[in-house]
């Protein structure tokens, strides 16, 4: 027996891989290194941010004044639909997966992700899914134009694009599920021995919970679009009233996925904010364990509030009241978080570098988005707000100055660690102020438009809405152009930045907060091949 075992053991010894990155472009195709894959995800997300942003520019240009100017209504509706799909599935979600790839192993003292090959595969499936989705723009009948929610019966009128859009959703779903499984396996099995669950940085905690959400909801969405596919091509009647089905059923299934999905985009945002704010307040995070429990509560509640997206489908009073109160309940754990961030800054020795500026703007503007959400949770009031620009303003406040701002903050925060170069603080601050002001010019007037009754997803509107639409469009163009500064900064930092020597901890005393700042800058290709002996504690 021992003769069999010995060579096996020997073989293992040979597999210690201390080699650096592969030479040539093929490295980026076949890489299984978490840092390479993180970079791929982040760059892909950045590219899609500009693609989705270009679509938003088309929308704002068309809405600049009443009447039809640049595009026909069908293409306009394709733009609103594709803008949402690209931003959600191509930009925000992959950007957070990219951050997870880079940061989670470094934050928990692991050498890599638990399943490196699957990691590579989930990235390339994402690319395939998004390319498939983008290809529908060139198909007969145009890209899907029924809104990102793909409601039947309208979506069934999509031309040749429908099956491609559905298969694209399948690919994106499989990619997300694989990514989520990988993250859970990494966090559960790869932590340094000293890294107990309640010592994990909040970013790791929020991603762990997000990953469970993804595994629970992406298959449901895949099922819903599969039913659309069979209704359209195989004569089933899941959503076809003529055959005994019910289109409202789709809305229930979709929002069972859709509501947790919006938290998939916001929970990691909370995690990054909880990571950045303490560093620049030079204090430990206030209420660490309450942050963990609040995140878990929000995740749980997200599964039982879905029908607040459908107050107008004709639910009976009891249903309306239940979903109204359950939805308002979410404000409690969310409030806990906002107060904790504020308390973290309270009496802190704060400095206002770009990542902190974006994070503070996040706390303020996300809270505003949260309040409009609370307004719409009130069922009788929602009858007025439903499908108007008020909801558009609401979810853009929770996505753009929240998720996107925090992604920017994360970029500024960790780029020095990733590249070993310092970004240009002056241009960073300019980027922040331009973004923070223009995002409000862009979205704040949309509240007024919505309250005045302007419906969403229309290319033309009554003249009474003209002034605020023009203001909103101007804000949109400034915001869009400002993001080119971010692109410039990212490229500039990768190529050397200010030339300033970056220390290992980068930010003053950052190593007290999280493990990645104990590593050299730039972070070597392989880190924590032996787990660290001690990990930072929340109380220092």
């Amino acid at each position: 027996m021992s003769a069999v075992i010995a060579p096996h053991d020997h073989e293992h010894d040979d597999h210690h891989d201390d080699h650096g990155p592969m030479k040539g472009w093929i490295r980026w195709i076949i890489t299984t290194n978490h840092k390479d894959i993180g970079t791929l995800y982040l760059l892909f997300a950045l590219a899609m941010f500009f693609v989705g942003g270009a679509m938003a520019m088309v929308i704002r240009a068309e809405l600049f004044e009443p009447g039809l100017q640049f595009v026909n209504p069908q293409f306009f509706n394709s733009m609103t639909t594709m803008h949402a799909l690209v931003m959600v599935f191509g930009a925000v979600m992959p950007a957070f997966v990219g951050l997870a790839n880079w940061q989670i192993p470094m934050m928990i003292g692991a050498p890599d992700m638990a399943l490196p090959r699957m990691n590579n595969m989930s990235f390339w499936m994402l690319v395939a899914g998004v390319l498939l989705l983008a290809s529908t723009l060139f198909m007969e009948g145009g890209a899907p134009a029924a809104g990102w929610t793909l409601y039947p019966p309208l979506v069934l009128q999509t031309g040749a694009a429908l099956p491609f859009a559905i298969f694209s959703v399948h690919l994106l779903g499989i990619s997300s599920i694989m990514g989520a499984i990988n993250i859970i396996a990494t966090i559960f099995n790869m932590r340094a021995p000293a890294m107990t669950l309640m010592k994990m940085p909040l970013f790791v905690w929020t991603w762990l919970i997000t990953a469970f959400l993804l595994i629970a909801i992406m298959p449901v969405f895949a099922g819903a679009v599969t039913m659309l596919l069979t209704d359209r091509f195989f004569d089933t009647s899941f959503f076809d009233a003529a055959g005994g089905g019910d289109p409202v059923l789709y809305q229930h299934i979709f929002w069972f996925f859709g509501h947790p999905e919006v938290y998939v985009m916001i929970l990691p945002t909370f995690g990054v904010a909880s990571t950045i704010i303490p560093v620049f307040a030079r204090k430990p995070l206030f209420g660490y364990s309450s942050m963990v429990y609040a995140t878990a509560s929000i995740a749980f509640l997200s599964f039982i509030v879905w029908a607040h997206h459908m107050f107008l489908v004709g639910m009976p009073m009891a249903g309306e009241l239940y979903f109204m109160y359950a939805t308002m309940l979410i404000a409690i754990p969310t409030g806990v978080k906002v107060f904790n961030w504020t308390a973290t800054m309270w009496k802190g020795a704060m400095t206002f570098e770009t990542p902190m500026l974006f994070s503070i703007a996040f706390v303020v503007l996300f809270t505003m988005g949260g309040f409009t959400g609370l307004m719409m949770a009130v069922a009788p009031a929602d009858f007025q707000y439903h499908d108007t620009y008020f909801i558009v303003a609401h979810f853009h406040y929770t996505l753009v100055p929240a998720s996107v701002f925090i992604l920017m903050a994360a970029g500024y925060f960790w780029l020095p660690k990733w590249t070993g170069h310092m970004y240009n603080e002056k241009i960073g601050k300019l980027h922040f102020w331009l973004s923070a002001i223009s995002v409000n010019i862009l979205f704040f007037p949309q509240h007024f438009l919505g309250l005045a009754g302007m419906p969403r997803r229309i290319p033309d509107y009554a003249v009474q809405f003209a002034d605020w639409n023009m203001v909103s469009s101007i804000g949109g163009f400034i915001f869009g152009l400002s993001q080119l500064l971010f692109l410039y900064i990212v490229i500039d930092t990768i190529r050397g930045g200010t030339g300033e020597k970056v220390t290992d901890e980068v930010w003053e005393d950052a190593h007290k907060h999280s493990l990645e700042w104990t590593l050299p800058s730039p972070a070597p290709y392989h880190t924590f091949t032996t787990p660290p002996e001690t990990v930072p504690s929340e109380h220092f």
Partner: protein, 181 residues
């Protein structure tokens, strides 16, 4: 990577994949669950499309409800479709017949299905029909038009809060689907 870690990873991945597969199934399980829930609670105004026997109800002539009739065509089905009276005052427990007229406006045979809906939804279970063109698919010859009666009764057990019930029919053109089968 040690063998033990490998085993732990494989076990975890299997469990998580199983969760994903179960959730895919759960999406489909929502379909019958939704139907059952709607039937039990009567939430969505779905109407029982089977005939009831014309049994004797106690007529409550002290109460009067208005029943309104609404007709619609799905995706502009090439038909004409209307109720002969827009509304009717009824006593709970008494049987009434109301005529609808539908016509095929094409030069081809047509198969169409009418789908009823009642609002308020919770009143649906008290609205009973002994005869309705919505029970089965309707076949029309080219250009054929015909009068189709609906015989119904409002159950006297209906809560006094309901004063008006709206019965809405939508005709769906099922010709293409019927040809395929």
């Amino acid at each position: 990577m040690t063998d033990e870690l490998q085993r732990k990873n494989v076990r975890l991945v299997r469990t998580l994949l199983l969760v994903a597969v179960v959730m895919f199934g759960f999406g489909f399980a929502l379909v019958p669950l939704y139907d059952v829930l709607c039937k039990v609670t009567g939430l969505n105004g779905k109407v029982d499309t089977t005939a009831v026997k014309e049994t004797g109800y106690q007529i409550d002539s002290n109460r009067e409800l208005t029943v309104e009739f609404v007709t619609a065509l799905n995706e502009s089905a090439p038909m004409e479709f209307r109720a002969e009276t827009p509304n009717l005052k009824v006593h709970p427990g008494q049987f009434y017949t109301v005529n609808f007229y539908a016509q095929n406006k094409t030069d081809k045979p047509m198969v169409a299905q009418a789908i009823p809906s009642i609002s308020p939804g919770l009143a649906a279970e008290y609205f009973k029909k002994t005869e309705c063109f919505c029970f089965t698919e309707q076949k029309f010859k080219p250009r054929e038009g015909r009068i189709m009666p609906v015989r119904f009764v409002v159950d006297p057990k209906i809560s006094p809060e309901y004063k008006t019930i709206t019965l809405a029919y939508t005709f769906f053109d099922n010709t293409e689907k019927a040809e395929k089968q």
